[in-house]
Each structure stands twice: as C-alpha cells, then as structure tokens.
Symmetry: C2
Subunit: 137 residues, 2 copies
C-alpha cells in the first residue's frame, strides 16, 4: 500500500509528527529532540531540524518564529494565533479569527495581496503574575 507522498515517513518523522500533534506546548527544536529521544534515543538534533523543516514545508506542522528568539513548532495547522508570556516564555494558543475582516482592509489599504497573518500577543500569564517579575518593562 504505497503512500502518496513525496517523502518517506520514517520513524523519526512519524514520532515528531505524533508528538507535536499531542503536545500543546509549542516546543523548540531541542525540546522536540529530547522528546523524540525518549523513544528513539539515537536521533540527532540535525535530523530533528531537517524533519521539522520538511514537515512544515509539507504543511503538516506549523512554525512559530519570533525574530531573535528560538523557533517553536506547532502541530495545529489550522490558522490560529498565540499569546506568549513575557516572563516564562510559554506560548499558548488563542482561538481568534481576526484575519478575514482585516484581510480586505489591508489588501485595500496597502495594495498587498494578504496571504497570512502572524499574530502574537505578549503578556504575563496567570502563573507569573505577582511574581515580582513585572518590573522589568
């Protein structure tokens, strides 16, 4: 039963994929690598990077990147956005479809054909609030 893909579904790829799909924490490549190694101890970080890149290009996962910070990966491929805690760095999903109404506005106002939208709120999560951490603004 040949799969209709232009790449091979190897053990490490299957593992990365199912791991990301089950995981809500938007891990970094290194965190993915650590998780993969629990089941496939010999997987190298380079392979994890290569596979994350491939899976993202194939549209099976999403990349969350904030310039100057470590890239993170997300198994949820539907359009959605994130909120990141300024203190602990955690990233959570936000279900919020503000894209469509703005798309028309932007395409009109800037002459762009809008293809996507990366929206990331930053703030302080409930756990970090009151930690005395809000003073570094």
């Amino acid at each position: 039963m040949p799969e209709n893909r232009d790449f091979r579904m190897t053990a490490s790829r299957r593992e990365i994929l199912s791991l990301l799909e089950a995981c809500s924490s938007h891990p970094t490549a290194e965190e993915v690598c650590t998780m993969v190694r629990e089941r496939l101890p010999k997987v190298s970080l380079a392979t994890v990077y290569r596979n994350l890149d491939l899976l993202a290009r194939e549209g099976l996962i999403r990349t969350i990147s904030v310039a100057g910070e470590q890239r993170r990966y997300d198994g949820m491929v539907e359009e959605h956005h994130h909120i990141r805690c300024e203190v602990c760095g955690r990233v959570e999903d936000v279900e919020l479809s503000c894209r469509d109404p703005l798309e028309a506005l932007l395409a009109d106002s800037k002459g762009y054909e809008v293809r996507g939208c990366t929206l990331c709120f930053v703030g302080v999560c409930g756990e970090c609030a009151g930690d005395g951490a809000e003073s570094d603004e």
Copy 2:
C-alpha cells in the same frame, strides 16, 4: 545644559536614532550599521547592537520581530503593526488599532495580562505581484 537622561547621547546613538526616525524600511542591525558608517565609518557592529538595545529599552525605538527573520528596528514608537512581502521581504507599517478590543477578550479568555501585540501580515506587495514569484508557496 545637562540633559536629563541616564545615558550619554553619543555620536553613534544620535546617528542611529535620527536615521531610524527618518527611515521607513525597518532595517536590521547590520543594515543600520552600514547606514551609520556612511557618516561614522569606524562604528562597530557590536556598538550598533548595544545601542539599538539601549534605545529600545529606553523606549526611543522599537524592536520588531518579524517571523522567521532577523530582528529589525523601527523608529516609530507608537503601537502599530506591519505587513511583510513574502517575495521581496520589505516590511511596511500598518496603522490599525486592533489591540484594544482584543485585549479585553484575551485577558479574559486566557488569564493573561496583555502588554502588547505583535501582528504581522504576510503577503505580496503591489510591486512584486505578477512577477511570477507567487509559485513558491
């Protein structure tokens, strides 16, 4: 006439600041360095990084994190957002205050105290449209 600042307004800082204020292209640190060197040839990249960081901490410029790319800097300090061309990479300002209505929603729905919002649309700008460049999706 002593200035009421907790840092010195040196030549390189003044230059970086006025350059960013006059510049609408959201340059990277290296681009800023190149521009600064047109007038101050001996400035080092490390100094540019240090000064960009300081000016951002002081609130005189903004750091913009455009997904997947190098950090960029912006002389416009008011809350605003960006749109980036997928083809040529240019980043333009978008005046669009979608923050306030969403803030309440988010603070409520996720338990976060929202402090800011980085919103970046990606698309194809007018100049790049029809260049045959939209095939690499």
